[in-house]
Symmetry: C2
Subunit: 383 residues, 2 copies
């Protein structure tokens, strides 16, 4: 049904990301009985390796589902009806946490920051001081919808001093930017497979601290499918059938990650992010986040120049250059575009994306010197 | 890590089942953006095709998760705390429904039948007559744990006359035995991918009748991730990232299913089931279900002969013949063995399994004439 051309579509979006053919091939291995020793051992081994990426000694579970399943598990296992959760909101995915909290009868105390702006950690501190009945704090590490990285480590220092749990979504950063679950005092850390881990979507992960277990044990738990107590109790940490082929893919993706080295991988993401930002600015575009220090290292968001139609620009990128970049979400639709540089993205991908973006912009009437963005990116990459 | 030999392991278990290499290869296609038209259309098309297998005009959703996710969705979207659910229990998976009901605060009215025995439909009728406050009835169509097929159509006729919803687990029968969601009045029908559909695990499906929607609309819904209202509302019927590669696999598996023809496929399963039963009896073993009319067409359960160790028998099957058959679950551990003949199983698979089982039984000291089971199976298959 799809042309060959489409299978070479270059994914420069914030997920799903380019999956290495080695990982794809691993997924086409024959399936094996999931309760036999061979698979169980391999499965638990991947959970152990994921702990290294989370930088945690906490329990970690692999779930059959999307990243949202892990976000759901973090809330549904810990929050009782009527309990207050401080939700730090500055984008679509941090909003999702408020929806989940409300869904489970919790009271979402929203601390809103304008999308694209920095989170003021002092305000977080103030709300926690004024509300000693807050049971958990939710924060999205890397807000995919705005291209902003949030100060989880700083927030962790504050939350640590309270009885509240720190619940963090690292879906679009884990494996591409620094996360340190134990050092940052993250009690429940949720992630998905299809971003920086560079595995197709369909498997999620969550880590659970002792502080979190103490709460979970006293909570009835709202979900059957996502009940973490069941996961812990099961000897394979998998009470229901695992997504076997996805686990095969994850294994090979983790092989590749450890071969590259996690720190090298993070450095690569940082360099590509920097090159993308310089390139974008170089061609006369404005970054969307209010300042560069808070820009994400996995996705760059930029303002669509006044009077231009992002759909047209993205259409040219896709139809003419076979590159897909993302538009904005919710009220940022038409206002921003987002370039993902996650997972397996390499220097040439960033360079061709910038070069084609210049051409696409020119085509829709934007004034720029061709090569001006690419040159700036090259200057970063030559280092 | 695994030897080549293991990749030829013949799966004669009730899931996961043998996946066709064409399906496996489809899963190794590059991932595509899940929100782009190309994928969305293909995704919705697979849901439409699934409706044909469910034989329903009801809404149908594909979920990222295992079959249990669909079972959970059926209960968590319809049952309010304190509400009564009649759970017809005669095996491990029908027990699971009681657990899910209790998890969501419902009152599970258990109607227990001995594992392996026929469900008495009159008793179901009686409980429903005596309890007009029962909101739903759960039944497992094909009890994987016992190899018994339950009379869903008969139960449907009774439930139809009440306000209760009929919730059916068809995880281990859909695509291998006759299911007629609309004709049988099934309000919520849950299935998984790794059984008769012959796709690896990781994608589930659920159909929802108008009668069910009327209840769902008045129910708050316990789950965020599995909230069916969100699925219906979303234009792609997928509020969260779909398991893209699994959908690719499902597509090709459905291509194959429609090429074979659903009725032909069901006839094949019936014939293989009959051959397996005759083979098993022919070698002097006893079927576990109390009578042959209730035997499953997708998995055959047989009694382990007195004094023999099923682990030893299954060990020989696996180590010497590279065939895996299943043991019993819960209190049937050590008492029964189960041979799956689901999905892509063909005549030669059944014949070699029976032939090897004879050898394995002989090895552990069981008295039988070699070839006696195989011959009986051949007599069925020659027709």
């Amino acid at each position: 049904m799809e042309s060959k051309e489409n299978e070479r579509l270059l994914l420069m979006i914030p997920g799903p990301t380019i999956v290495d053919p080695k990982v794809l091939r691993a997924m086409s291995k024959p399936v094996t009985p999931h309760r036999e020793k061979e698979f169980s051992e391999m499965f638990l081994e991947q959970a152990e390796r994921m702990k290294q990426i989370f930088k945690t000694k906490n329990d970690l579970f692999l779930l059959a589902g999307s990243g949202t399943a892990a976000m759901d598990a973090a809330i549904s296992n810990t929050i009782k009806p009527g309990e207050k959760v401080l939700c730090i909101v500055s984008g679509k995915f941090s909003e999702r946490f408020t929806e989940i909290v409300k869904c489970y009868g919790g009271e979402a105390v929203e601390l809103n920051f304008e999308w694209g702006k920095e989170i003021d950690v002092n305000k977080v501190k103030k709300v926690l001081e004024e509300n000693d009945d807050i049971k958990a704090v939710t924060v999205v590490h890397n807000e995919t919808s705005t291209g902003v990285k949030n100060p989880v480590q700083e927030i962790g220092k504050i939350v640590k001093e309270t009885n509240a749990l720190l619940i963090v979504d690292t879906i679009s950063s884990l494996g591409g930017d620094d996360i340190n679950v134990d050092e940052w005092n993250i009690d429940l850390c949720a992630t998905g497979s299809q971003k920086c881990l560079a595995v197709p979507p369909g498997i999620a992960a969550i880590s659970v601290s002792e502080k979190a277990w103490n709460v979970i044990e006293k909570t009835n738990g709202h979900s059957y499918y996502l009940n973490l107590k069941k996961y812990r109790k099961h000897k394979h940490h998998a009470p229901y059938t695992q997504p076997i082929s996805m686990v095969y893919g994850l294994k090979v993706a983790l092989d590749m990650m450890f071969e590259e080295g996690l720190e090298n991988r993070i450095a690569r993401h940082r360099k590509l992010a920097k090159a993308t930002r310089e390139g974008v600015k170089g061609m006369g575009l404005k970054l969307f986040p209010e300042k560069e220090e808070i820009c994400s290292n996995t996705v760059t968001s930029l303002c669509v120049p006044e009077g231009l139609d992002d759909k047209e620009i993205r259409g040219i990128m896709k139809d003419k250059y076979n590159i897909v970049i993302a538009g904005g979400q919710a009220h940022l639709k038409g206002k921003i575009m987002r370039i993902g540089h996650m997972g397996n993205v390499i220097e040439r991908d960033v360079l061709c994306t910038l070069a084609c973006l210049e051409l696409a912009l020119k085509k829709v009437g934007f004034t720029l010197d061709l090569g001006s963005g690419v040159k700036k990116a090259q200057e970063i990459l030559k280092k």
